[in-house]
Each structure stands twice: as structure tokens, then as C-alpha cells.
């Protein structure tokens, strides 16, 4: 299970790096932090998983969305 989660981590990280649409990248990052919370949970660290779920999934997604709304959607060349 750990190997599958780590492979999904790599896939989501590469996709978040390479996507030109910023909103798409934020969605990939949300799934990345979700999977890392599941990984911490699977490795018997529920307190770390709790913090990761609160900060990574909720707060950072909200912050990035709010900032993209102010800055603009497309990444300039």
C-alpha cells in the first residue's frame, strides 16, 4: 500500500509542476496533500495526519484559490 501511495505522490507532484493552468495545479496539490495524509495515517502517525489534513487540504487550498483569484488564472510565459 505504501508503494502505491508513493507512486501516486510522484505522479501528482509531476502533474502539479507541469500544468500551465494554475487552478489545475492547485487541484493536483490538494490531491497530493490528501494522499500524504493517508500515507502518514497508514504509517501509524495519526497526529501528523491530522495536521496534514487540516493545513494541507483545507487551509493551503483555500489560500491558493484566494490568491489566484487576485492574481489571475493563467501563468505567463
Amino acid at each position: 500500500m505504501t508503494e502505491i501511495l508513493l507512486l501516486l505522490h510522484i505522479l501528482m507532484g509531476i502533474l502539479a509542476l507541469l500544468s500551465r493552468d494554475l487552478l489545475k495545479a492547485v487541484l493536483f496539490l490538494a490531491v497530493l496533500s490528501l494522499l500524504s495524509a493517508l500515507l502518514f495515517f497508514h504509517l501509524h502517525a495519526p497526529d501528523v495526519a491530522l495536521t496534514e489534513a487540516a493545513v494541507g487540504t483545507g487551509l493551503s487550498t483555500f489560500l491558493y484559490i484566494w490568491l489566484i483569484r487576485k492574481v489571475g488564472l493563467k501563468e505567463d510565459e
Binding site: 489545475k24 495526519a49 488564472l73
Partner: protein, 91 residues
Amino acid sequence: MDLAPLSWDFINYFLLGTTVVSTVRLIIGPTLADRLVAVNLIAAQVLAILVIVAVKEKLSVYLDVALVYDIFGFIGVLAVVKYFGRKEEIR
């Protein structure tokens, strides 16, 4: 709740496999709405894994992780919908 140890593993791997399959829609989804539904689906499946592991280990601390995760994931989806929910911006 007592199940055979093999069936716990089967449930976990089955839900993880459906998560991997839902990732395909997240990657190839043409519009933003498709990707948002895929994120919500993956969140639901990960939540099911968290609750099932909590029932298996019989620890209530694990259920707190599932609760907090569900609340904040919903807030994240709400933020996307509130700021980019108008029709001309969803491509």
C-alpha cells in the same frame, strides 16, 4: 466487528484501486468541473479508507483524523466553487 484479516486487506486495496482509477478522470478531465468532481470522489474514497482502518484498529483517535479531513476537504471544494463557480470561467 470481527472480520478475517485477509478481508481487511482486501477492502483497503480495493478502495485504493478505485482511488487510482479515479485519478484518471482527474488527469484527463477536460473541464474544471470534471476535475473538481474527481477530487471530491478521491476524497470520499480516502475517507472510507480512514474510517475502515479506524474500525480495524479499534482506536477513536483515527476517527478524529477522518472527521477533520472531511471538514477541511469540504471547505477546499467550497472555496473553488465560490471563487471560480461562474459559468464563463469554468472551461
